[in-house]
Each structure stands twice: as C-alpha cells, then as structure tokens.
C-alpha cells in the first residue's frame, strides 16, 4: 500500500512528529511505501540545523534515516518560506512540494492520515 502521513504542528512542542515517525517505521516494516507531508509549522522538522539537547531525540535526523529507507519527505514550500526554511537548511533527500503534490499524494495514497493541528 501507499500510505501518507500529514503533520501540521511544530516538532518537540508537540508529539505529532514522534507519532508520525513511529507509524512510518511500523508501516515500512510491514512492507508499505510511506510518505510524510510536512505542512504549516511542522516544516521545522526538516531543518538540519535543529540542535536538541543531548538527552533528547533528533527529529530531523530521524526523518533523514526514514528517507534513507525509502520514505519520501515532502515539505510544503510556501509554509517553508513563511518559516524561513531555505534550500540550504533542509535535510538531504527531502523535497519542497506544494499543495499540488499534496493533491497527488491524496490521490495516489491508499491511506492518508492527517494529524490535525
């Protein structure tokens, strides 16, 4: 199956990215194609300059690991511009997309899971 998870709120402040990453790992292990669409303030999760405390998880790095396992990480481009996230800041392998790509994902995906803001 193709499964897409959309997040909308900032990482760390909320649990959503943790939920999304955990679900993505489980779906990968179950043999599915997984996409993550980062919308609104959740685009921060793809900022490679994020520097958490040592005892904390590194969410952008976890997303990058997922990318290396075949997960597509989409960043809403206009949302990124509004949060000052530029091309140079984003984690490798993630892509700036827009609502047309969101539409394509909604259309193609067998399951579309939105984590409401």
């Amino acid at each position: 199956m193709i499964i897409t998870i959309q997040t909308n709120v900032p990482p760390y402040t909320n649990e959503d990215l943790d939920t999304a990453i955990h679900l993505a790992e489980v779906f990968l292990a179950r043999g599915h194609k997984v996409n993550i669409f980062l919308f609104a303030d959740s685009v921060l999760s793809a900022n490679k300059f994020v520097k958490p405390m040592r005892i904390d998880r590194n969410i952008p790095m976890k997303l990058q690991e997922l990318i290396s396992k075949g997960v597509e990480v989409h960043i809403c481009g206009l949302c990124a511009e509004y949060r000052g996230l530029t091309e140079e800041m984003k984690i490798e392998g993630s892509k700036f997309s827009g609502v047309p790509e969101m539409a394509a994902l909604i259309y193609e995906s067998d399951r579309y899971i939105n984590l409401m803001p």
Binding site: A40, G98, V99, P100, M102, I106
Partner: protein, 119 residues
C-alpha cells in the same frame, strides 16, 4: 475521482487554518479530486460579511473568493453553529457560495467522503 472533505473548526483571525483550508482545496483541482470545505464551531464566523481578519492585521479571507467562484467550490457550514453566533442568512457574504448543513446530518455527510482532513 476521490471526494475529499477539508473541515475546519478554528476561529478566523486568531489562527491561519481557515486560510490554509482553502489553499489546500484550491490545490486539489489539478487531480481527479473533488474537494469540499466544511466550516464548523468557531470557523463559521468567517462567513459573516463583516468578518475581516485584516482589521487586526492578519491575512484577509477575501483572497479566497475569486477561486471559490472560479472552481465553484462547495462550501458548507453547520447551521446550529451559525445560529450560536447569531449569524443570519442575509449577513452571510454571498461570495462564500455557502450551503448549510444540519448537525444531525453531519455524521452521514462526513462519511460520504473518501478522505476527511480536519484543520
């Protein structure tokens, strides 16, 4: 053809979600998708003809009108929620192309879509 409902429940002006709801909807038309908007709870305030978030300095809602007309987007609001805020039919800006839905019909309405995304 996939039918997708974007449902928004947060107030205009206080947060960006009504704007984002419509931005998502207008992006759907490139695909074989029929997107529909549903305004509920505090989000229904948006349809009043005097609701102008730009009056407190945030992004206006009126930028959506030309696309609602262009795409003939279906926009629904929950009747009881409009009544709660005392918004009468003649106070609704006609450019929202608004249709009312009863709370008692909401469950079935929501279930008639292939995907439902809440903001």
């Amino acid at each position: 053809m996939k039918k997708v409902l974007f449902a928004v429940y947060t107030s205009p002006a206080g947060s960006i979600w009504i704007n984002e709801t419509f931005r998502c909807i207008f992006g759907m038309y490139g695909q074989d998708i029929e997107p529909v908007a549903l305004l509920l709870n505090e989000a229904v305030l948006a349809v009043h003809k005097n609701c102008k978030p730009e009056q407190c300095g945030v992004l206006p809602l009126s930028i959506t009108f030309k696309y609602i007309e262009k795409y003939q987007t279906k926009v629904y609001a929950v009747k009881e929620d409009l009544e709660k805020y005392n918004i009468k039919e003649d106070e609704i800006d006609p450019r929202w192309n608004l249709q009312l839905i009863l709370k008692s019909d909401l469950a079935e309405f929501v279930h008639s879509f292939d995907n439902v995304i809440f903001f």
